[in-house]
């Protein structure tokens, strides 16, 4: 399923961290990305499969995919295009 996913601009490994810290760290990492750049988040908290799509919907970033690979989950997020007034 992953052949079509873009190569990430940055990878964030949150393995061992539990709710809500994978999302807290994702938010910080996405803020540091250029608009349109892609972040790969690796997590062992199974809640990431529910949390990441909801966080992307709330923050208007693009959720590309979340899937389990081995013991960990991988989640791809594309930073939203810059909106007026955004840093």
């Amino acid at each position: 399923m992953n052949a079509t996913l873009p190569a990430p601009d940055r990878t964030l490994d949150t393995s061992g961290k539990l709710c809500p810290f994978p999302i807290v760290e994702t938010a910080k990492a996405v803020r540091a990305l250029a608009p349109g750049a892609v972040l790969l988040v690796i997590a062992t908290d199974p809640g990431i499969a529910q949390d990441m799509p909801m966080w992307c919907r709330a923050t208007r970033n693009e959720h590309l995919a979340t899937f389990k690979e081995g013991a960990a989950w991988k989640s791809y997020v594309r930073r939203a295009p810059r909106e007026e007034g955004q840093p």
Partner: protein, 351 residues
């Protein structure tokens, strides 16, 4: 309306805070949602322990609420020393259990005020409803929280706003007071009607009750730790490790200076293994059984007693003798003991 207002909304993800988000956003206000992480959320702890017994993982309701209402959301960690010290010495006292709700709200609103100022927002709002909770949501305590947090005139409760004094953003015309709510009391029917009107169809059931501090069993363990530390001549305080351990396992008070915590599942056993520093790890050998920790300074007799109780919760509980390993500071000792079989005495030690 004058210029576009900006606001900070505090959300738990329950129906009331979801409605508050939707109401304020519907007035054209630019809203940022904040969810405070205290370490005492029951749902978060359930997730940390692998989810529900049926294998499902509880969803994060604060995220769900922000996503449904389409507002930006940020988690803010307030679980540090300052918060733990507030829990031990609350100025306004505790509710029914270990819940110092008024002090906790003052603490959160102070943090919210800092965020409001940092973000250049005009006001803070919450999903609180006048008269919904017996102590923390009375008219006088809502006012205390507003005053003590320094948010005078800038703390809006949209669901009950028409029953409260107008806030500064209402007076400045940044909000239309006529479109705010006039809900009070414990009935949830008005909120359900409002949810339907705002197109909100999804909220957690039952409402509220997500905080361990309001849980009777947790509160017993919380106050037991404070009492024991005082009796042992130590400082009356809660440590970060306590927050996890108080919601994990069976707890038995052996003496003011020693407590036994026994895992109730594979997940809890694994979790206890992450908290070995400064504690003894106790486990039966040769038979399946739980992992246990002993905190404090047990006497020889208490070491024997703890070993017997650990043996009682393993598969060897009906054997005449079980060998129990006691491991601490890198050294291990083994005690052959008879599994504890005095259930009345066991119940007296249970916290």
């Amino acid at each position: 309306m004058t210029r576009k207002a900006r606001a900070i909304g505090l959300i738990s993800g329950g129906l009331d805070s979801t409605l508050a988000l939707a109401m304020v956003k519907a007035q054209g206000v630019e809203v940022k949602a904040i969810n405070f992480y205290t370490g005492f959320c029951i749902t978060e702890t359930q997730r940390r322990k692998g989810g529900r017994p049926d294998g499902s993982v509880p969803r994060n309701e604060a995220l769900r609420a922000a996503a449904d209402v389409e507002v930006d959301v940020e988690y803010v960690d307030i679980s540090g020393r300052e918060y733990l010290d507030m829990l031990v010495s609350p100025r306004y006292g505790y509710g029914k259990n270990a819940n110092p709700c008024v002090d906790c709200r003052v603490f959160m609103m102070r943090k919210a005020k800092e965020i409001m100022e940092r973000e250049g927002a005009d006001f803070v709002f919450t999903g609180e409803v006048l008269g919904q909770r017996p102590k923390s949501q009375r008219r006088d305590t809502l006012r205390v929280v507003e005053r003590d947090s320094g948010l005078d005139g800038r703390l809006l409760r949209p669901l009950s706003a028409k029953l409260l004094k107008p806030t500064i953003p209402e007076q400045e015309g940044l909000l239309d007071r006529s479109k705010l709510g006039d809900i009070s009391g414990r009935s949830r029917h008005p909120q359900m009607a409002m949810a339907e009107a705002l197109g909100i169809a999804d909220w957690p059931q039952p409402a509220g009750g997500c905080c361990y501090l309001t849980d009777e069993s947790f509160a017993r363990k919380f106050f037991d730790v404070l009492r024991a530390r005082e009796a042992a001549g130590e400082e009356r305080r809660i440590e970060p490790d306590d927050v996890v351990l108080l919601s994990t396992g069976r707890h038995f008070r052996l003496s003011p200076k020693a407590k036994l915590v026994i895992g109730r599942s594979e997940v809890e056993n694994a979790l206890l293994d992450n908290y070995l520093e400064g504690r003894a790890r106790v486990e039966a050998q040769g038979v399946a059984g739980p992992v246990a920790l002993v905190e404090g300074v047990p006497t020889w007799e208490e070491r024997q007693l703890a070993s017997r109780i650990v043996a009682r919760y393993g598969k060897g509980k009906d054997l005449p003798q079980v060998e129990v390993e006691w491991r601490e500071d890198g050294e291990a000792e083994r005690y052959p003991v008879a599994p504890f079989d005095d259930e009345d005495a066991l119940e007296k030690m249970r916290v």
